[in-house]
Amino acid sequence: MKIAVQGSYPKIPSGAGASVRTQIQRFDRGVGSPKDLDQTYREATRRMLNLADEVGLDLTTDGQIRWNDLFDPIVRDVDNVYSEGLLRLFDNNFYYRHPVIRGRLAFQGGTLRYWSEQSVAMSKVPLKVALPGPFTFMGLSEDQSYHQSDRLLQDLLAVLKLERESLAGIGVAEVQWDEPSLSRDRALDKGYVKEVLATLTAEASLPQSVALFWGQGAHAWLEALADLPLRTVYLDAVADPAVIPALAETEWPFAVGVGAIDARNVRLESPSDLARQLEPIIRRQGNDRVILHPTSGLELLPPDRAEAKVRRLAEVRAAVLGTTKS
């Protein structure tokens, strides 16, 4: 069984070390320089990537240390998208600046590629980049320009594909489309979702995955995703416990991510309990096609607890090895 993390990671240390928070405060007060701030971003990213290596993750993100929220790189890389008022991100006490579309979307690119190049160079663990999927972007943004969702969606898919392709050739191992909106909305027409994601994932130079989290409907999309060119589908098994039987009972054509480590609660999972839950999934899908991961990015936890959750991934893997050997 493999282990991985999903998206964001705390930007501050649990003890001594580079703190993005402190450095931004210094920068805002005019004490720290742009170079100091850039250096701090690099050090905080390196800290996260070193932890991934130390724990033995099979796949990691860079913790999105430079990102303000999940839309940040899109706002920076796509013309006519602006960060506006703060809104609550689903049912989290975390707030994102909602993207407002004020003109036709045009891809400029550069920022995410630059950030990712730096991270790839620092990481000993294969690095994936998580991006907002089209349903989540459409659901959480505000259209002040198109007034026709079909036309907006068409252009959005085009710029998201360009963003993905901008990451080709720099060593990124996977592009993960984050779709919390889909997990929370089972009512959407499955044929339509399949068609949109088929367009998004076509003609890709990089392996792709979809992550469904924070909703009770994650398992309901498995079938619709089955024909798509996806390497992995990551599912939040805490918000949607039906994920566990869905993965234990049916063999899927992609690798399955089991989000059984709760990224929104400090309570640490029991390795032996999780090993027992995972055992039938591993038996059904095969040992190398199951990835244990936190339900979502770990930035919603304090840094010490986030680190403990990453370490717990390895502890669960050890427990699984014990279970599957016996």
Partner: protein, 326 residues
């Protein structure tokens, strides 16, 4: 006091530099609690003075003794543990409390700060509490078997605190529930908890709600058992008023309308604020319409806060004049 369009603030004010410094030194053990309290009293005087100077009708004490609206209570109440900081947006962090045991509290935590502020002015000062639903939602629950049992235990504590404020002489008691729209399926539980909090209170009760996905909880939100709903509106260009206008505003309810965005450095125009007020007046009579900022001002600088409040008063005074009620 003006007869119509009474003005107020939501709660927090930015902490002056001397108080920020005092809080840091107190955490390091360099100054005593009494010295910190003195710095808080001085800052409170400045907050009261500013509101008096601007002609605001119902004052707040500015929450100079509080770091965060949930952590402040959790730091003192039983059953909570403090965490390392967690990011809520941008570069803002809070220490998200961890519930590790049965919650309980000694009555009257907020009374002294209210008394001190009220002694500085003849105008009414609001007693400020955080609601049980929000305290639960913005804490990690590592103890209670479910959210309901935690929320109802917290409601009983907040009720006692409200009674203590009322007995001390507070005529306005505000119970903030910014998290109330987080899970629409739990709105009935939040209403039930608020009924526990406000049971038997004769003081004027207010609940402030922001970052709301109001569409999902309206018009049921009108059943929240408080005299006044205080809602943010400027953050999204007064779109909330379209929703409010779709329903009859209840005769027994007051609306406090947020007219300036507290998460933006830029200053709104008087014309835009007046437009929002006039739009609200189409649904809510002027004697039941209160005007305030979208939320607490603590994330703004002192100058920005003063600027936004001054602009708010200018707009209100113009509207009052135009309505023949200055």
């Amino acid at each position: 006091m003006s007869q119509i369009l009474k003005t107020t603030s939501v709660g927090s004010f930015p902490k002056p530099a001397q108080l920020v410094e005092a809080r840091i030194r107190f955490r390091k053990g360099e100054i005593s609690r009494a010295q910190l309290a003195e710095a808080e009293r001085n800052a409170t005087k400045a907050v009261i003075q500013l509101q008096e100077d601007l002609g605001i009708d119902i004052l707040v004490h500015g929450e100079m003794e509080r770091g965060d609206m949930v952590a402040y209570f959790a730091e003192t109440w039983q059953g909570f543990e403090e965490s390392l900081p967690v990011r809520s947006y941008g570069n803002r962090y809070y220490r998200k409390p961890i519930v590790v045991g049965t919650v309980g509290a000694k009555r009257g935590l907020t009374v002294d700060s209210w008394r001190q502020a009220q002694a500085l002015t003849k105008k009414p000062v609001k007693g400020m509490l955080t609601g049980p639903y929000t305290i639960c939602d913005w804490s990690f629950n590592a103890f209670y078997p479910d959210r309901r049992s935690l929320i109802l235990d917290l409601a009983a504590i907040v009720h006692e605190e409200a009674l203590a404020l009322q007995e001390a002489g507070a005529h306005y008691i505000q119970i903030d529930e910014p998290a109330i729209s987080t899970r629409p399926e739990e709105l009935d539980l939040a209403i039930e908890a608020m009924a526990v909090v406000t049971d038997g209170l004769t003081a004027h009760t207010i609940s402030h709600i922001c970052y709301g996905d109001f569409e999902t909880i309206y018009p049921r939100l009108l059943d929240l058992p408080v005299d006044q709903l205080d809602l943010e509106a400027a953050n999204q260009g007064f779109q909330l008023l379209d929703l409010i206008q779709a329903y009859q505003w209840p005769k027994q309810k007051e609306l406090a309308l947020g007219v300036v965005d507290v998460h933006s450095h830029s200053l709104e125009s008087v014309a835009a604020v007046k437009q929002g007020i006039y739009k609200a007046l189409e649904t809510v009579p002027a004697d039941r319409l209160y005007i305030d900022p979208d939320c607490g001002l603590k994330t703004r600088t002192w100058e920005e806060s003063e600027g936004k409040l001054r602009l708010m008063m200018e707009a209100v005074n113009e509207v009052r004049q135009e309505l023949g009620s200055s």
